[in-house]
């Protein structure tokens, strides 16, 4: 499937020197733009989540002219707002032997050795500054009585390094970024476009020079030009239709960039989060996460006997299987997400599932309530318990929660080098939208960290290396043919959606795609299933383009039309995910190929043949993509079989 002879080896532009010194050295060596020249530059930032709002606000503070875009009605509503559990940092406040090196080490190991050491180390380095910054901005983190910050533990770590604001950490962090952005909007350094969706990126002479957008209320198609474009548009878990992501999250921005030549890295590396509320019925529109922090105090179990359908309280202690504690005594209920998810899947497949549809496992707080009292549990997780009860009509203080894994996060995304620059000069990617620092599996509380690291600290420091080349060169005017052509193409595409006039809604096709993706390219993948998926996706795609029905007009708010464009892109992205999963003949992190397992049934990596990042290149509508490689070297965290026993 890959045309090996066309494949390139990618240069990540990692600075020389010991890992501890790379970032400092980089910042000293990099080209700068002096403060009085910054107002001569226009920068487009698409997305106002943690990464985008953080970057836009910071670049505004530094004196650049920024245009920020979001399809939400306010920049405060980006999907980051939904993050619950917390954010990691290497402060070592609990004095439990944490350090920057340990955070780095845990993240590389947790990612199953498929991430770039230099980036992860930098992430760990800036983690502490993020806490300083967000505290100063007024994030009301949980405190101890002495007024100091409190910490808790998350999966994949044996230290307590997670900072949190009740079960609303993402909300509080996004609000600080949103407020920092609002301050720049008021100051005039950032122009904000809400309810405006980016539909394509525009290139001239091979570099990114702007974007084309659609005003979601008037339908107007408009071009915006700039010296550089930053995509901070989040992840693509909604390719599965049902996921924990917000309803509008989509992959369009990065997919369009891919079709314009940016390489797409590790598309099949997706995270299926272990603690979500199981699917209830067929009209379910999304899945709800119960924060991983619950695994601090909740114990996961299933009835030891398959098919046992007694109510949980009637199942005596010795007839319960606390399977994570049994199989992984060192980490117990706090094993990394991929490990916990697969274990739950195996339990359900083996007939131990609980609940009306036998599609869950228990997460039980009885012991913790007995030990700490109901009040403490309420303080820690009150809002999550309430949310659970609202959805399921069951009271988790009395009956154990039922949970099951659900698509949650995408480690894959646009390939970026150490500068966060894609393979298109002038096009940068930040936050969940890039292939990021998480390898094949992300540890809990590290996406908020990465979003703010990229947005506040990394991108504002690296973008000058590109901008410095364009001093006194004005941006390409929006009446240039490159913009006019793209606008025309987009209008034609929109007309196409409106004129198919078939029989089915957009959701109908999205649901079909989602089912194929979760069955064949979800928690467990096989060659046979993936090959079948390729055929099925092709068929759904054909039907979509001939049998879709989108009513209404292009010149008004038209939510079906918005979704049609996003699902059209998901159909192509889903196919690339399947190709990537087929191509990677090993198991690692969230990518679990049934053909590649250890004797104990755990993921079996093949470091000899696959210690690289796969970065895919679009070659056209009807020709297969080419897979390029970024070789990965592990100098500081020696390659080893992950063990959480």
């Amino acid at each position: 499937m890959t045309t090996e002879h066309n494949a390139r080896v990618l240069d990540a532009k990692i600075p020389d020197g010991p890992i501890q010194e790379k970032w400092d050295k980089y910042r000293f060596d990099t080209k700068l733009v002096n403060p009085s020249n910054r107002r001569k530059y226009d920068i487009i930032v698409v997305g106002t989540g943690l990464a985008g709002a953080g970057a836009a606000a910071t670049l505004g503070e530094q004196g650049y002219n920024v245009k920020a875009f979001t399809y939400n009605d306010s920049s405060r509503r980006a999907h980051s707002i939904g993050a619950q559990g917390g954010i990691n940092a290497a402060k070592n406040y609990p004095n439990d032997n944490d350090s920057i090196f340990r955070l780095f080490y845990d993240t590389v190991k947790g990612g199953d050795y498929r991430s770039r050491e230099a980036n992860v180390y930098r992430l760990a380095q800036v983690s502490n500054e993020i806490i300083d910054q967000t505290v100063a901005q007024g994030a009301p983190y949980a405190r101890e009585y002495g007024g100091l910050l409190d910490n808790r533990s998350f999966g994949g770590a044996q230290v307590s390094r997670t900072f949190y604001a009740r079960g609303q950490t993402g909300q509080q962090l996004l609000l600080t970024a949103y407020q920092a952005l609002a301050r720049q909007v008021a100051a005039g350094s950032v122009e904000l476009f809400t309810r405006t969706e980016m539909l394509d990126v525009v290139l001239k002479d091979g570099r990114a020079v702007g974007i084309v957008t659609r005003d979601l209320i008037t339908g107007e198609i408009e071009s915006h030009s700039a010296h550089a474009v930053v995509l901070a548009t989040g992840g693509y878990s909604n390719v599965y239709f049902l996921s924990t992501n917000a309803m509008n999250c989509n992959g369009t921005a990065i997919w369009r960039a891919y079709r314009k030549g940016a390489l797409f890295a590790s598309p099949s590396f997706t995270q299926i989060h272990p603690t979500c509320i199981p699917v209830g019925d067929e009209f379910q529109s999304k899945l709800v996460l119960m924060s991983e922090s619950l695994r601090n105090d909740g114990r996961i179990w299933v009835p030891a006997k398959a098919g046992d359908d007694r109510p949980p309280k009637d199942i005596p202690e010795d007839e319960r299987d606390y399977y994570l504690e049994r199989m992984y005594p060192a980490f117990g209920n706090l094993v990394p997400r991929d490990v916990a998810s697969r274990a739950a899947m195996r339990m359900v497949q083996a007939g131990h599932g609980v609940g009306p549809l036998k599609n869950g496992v228990y997460l039980d707080f009885a012991d913790a309530i007995g030990r700490l009292g109901r009040k403490t549990i309420e303080d820690r997780y009150g809002n999550l318990f309430e949310m659970y009860e609202r959805i399921t009509d069951e009271n988790p203080y009395e009956v154990p929660m039922r949970i099951y894994p659900a698509p949650h996060y995408t480690m894959g995304g646009l390939w970026v080098d150490y500068n966060l620059e894609t393979t298109i000069p002038g096009l940068f990617a930040a936050g969940e939208a890039n292939f990021s620092d998480h390898g094949a599996n992300r540890l809990g509380a590290s996406a908020l960290m990465q979003g703010l690291a990229d947005g506040y600290f990394v991108l504002p420091a690296t973008i000058s290396s590109y901008l410095a080349n364009w001093l006194n060169v004005p941006p390409v005017p929006t009446d240039d043919e490159v913009f006019v052509e793209t606008e025309q193409e987009l209008k034609e595409r929109i007309d196409k959606f409106l004129s198919i006039n078939g029989t089915h809604t957009v959701d109908y096709f999205h649901r079909k795609l989602g089912k194929v993706m979760i069955d064949e390219c979800g928690m467990s993948r096989s060659r046979e299933g993936l090959e079948k998926a390729l055929e099925e996706i092709a068929e759904i795609k054909r039907d979509f383009w001939s049998d879709l029905r989108v009513l209404g007009t292009a010149e008004s708010l038209n939510q079906s039309l918005e979704r049609a464009g996003r699902v059209a892109d998901f159909l192509e992205l889903g196919e690339l995910m399947v190709r990537d999963a087929l191509d990677r003949e090993e198991s690692c992190g969230g990518h679990f190929r049934v053909e590649h397992v250890t004797e104990e049934g755990e993921a079996k990596r093949d470091d000899e043949n696959f210690a690289f990042v796969s970065a895919w290149e679009w070659t056209g509508e009807d020709s297969p993509p080419i897979r390029h490689k970024e070789p990965l070297e592990f100098e500081y965290v020696p390659l080893s079989q992950r063990s959480y026993k």
């Binding site: 606000a57 910071t58 503070e61 939400n72 009605d73 306010s74 920049s75 405060r76 509503r77 999907h79 707002i81 939904g82 402060k91 300083d132 910054q133 505290v135 100063a136 901005q137 007024g138 009301p140 405190r143 101890e144 002495g146 007024g147 100091l148 009740r166 609303q168 909300q171 509080q172 949103y178 407020q179 920092a180 609002a182 909007v185 008021a186 917000a246 309803m247 509008n248 019925d281 009209f283 379910q284 529109s285 999304k286 709800v288 949310m387 609202r390 959805i391 009509d393 506040y456 600290f457 504002p460 809604t505 959701d507 109908y508 029905r549 009513l551 008004s556 708010l557 939510q559 079906s560």
Partner: protein, 254 residues
């Protein structure tokens, strides 16, 4: 269960709107309110009628995107619950449910149930932040925050900016929203340097767009995050204090 819906339909802000009746049959009691609307929309599309436009995103009660009037109650009958978290088990078979957009002087209906709430962002832009450039922050533990202050601040900071408080208010006032942000920042030591400046700027911007508060208290009842009306009293005191505290002399400038 079967329910009858009376839904506000309006093509755009310039056009007149009106109620249209739809039947939603065979709805599961476990479905969420929006899942019920999704189902109605699928049927409408199949029949060749344009689906009902409504806003939602997280569907977990945290992003503040959603919100409609249900039988005259913002976010519907369940207290402390955003529309997206409302489930059909709160209704009875055979009910007629009236669904309308937020209505307030300051908001325009964009289409059907979708409204423009951008004046909220204007209030935040007027001063709802702490001015600290990235890179300039002191060490996190340089500032101790007494736990009760952190908790009270967090209570106020839970506001999701949904605007149910405005929709609930007979005067269309935005005091609960504005006061929640003023309290979030003003209760923290980090928020002190700009405190009075912030309060004055935010209150005055709020007054430019919204009606005035007469202490009806409807906002608190409607708020999906149960933000306490106490924050309004706190904001009012701060605003009055700002008038006689000559804050320029405390290093704050207008």
């Amino acid at each position: 269960m079967d329910v009858t819906l009376r839904v506000w339909r309006q093509p755009d802000s310039a056009s007149e709107g009106g109620f249209v009746t739809y039947e939603a049959n065979g709805v599961s009691a476990d479905a969420s309110f929006f899942e019920m609307l999704d189902m109605v929309n699928e049927e409408l599309n199949d029949r060749g009628e344009e689906p009902i436009a409504f806003d939602s995103d997280c569907r977990e009660g945290i992003c503040g995107t959603c919100g409609v009037m249900i039988d005259g109650h913002p976010h519907g009958p369940q207290r402390g619950t955003a529309t997206c978290q409302l489930h059909m088990r709160k209704f009875k078979d055979g009910d007629t449910i009236v669904i309308e957009p937020w209505r307030a002087e300051a908001f325009t209906v964009v289409r059907d149930l979708v409204v423009d709430r951008s004046p909220f962002d204007k209030i935040i832009q007027a001063g709802g932040y702490i001015s600290v450039n990235v890179g300039a922050a002191p060490d996190a533990h340089d500032t101790l925050v007494p736990r009760p202050a952190a908790e009270a601040s967090m209570d106020a900071a839970s506001c999701i900016g949904c605007a149910a408080c405005v929709a609930a208010c007979p005067n269309g006032a935005a005091n609960l929203f504005t006061a929640a942000k003023i309290a979030h920042l003003g209760l923290l030591p980090q928020g002190q340097p700009e405190r009075y400046l912030r309060t004055v700027a935010m209150v005055e911007t709020m007054e430019d767009y919204f009606g005035s508060c007469r202490n009806y208290g409807e906002c608190e009842t409607a708020c999906p995050k149960s933000i306490s009306i106490d924050v309004i009293a706190w904001m009012n005191r701060d605003y009055v204090a700002a008038q006689w505290k000559n804050f320029r002399k405390q290093g704050q400038q207008v």
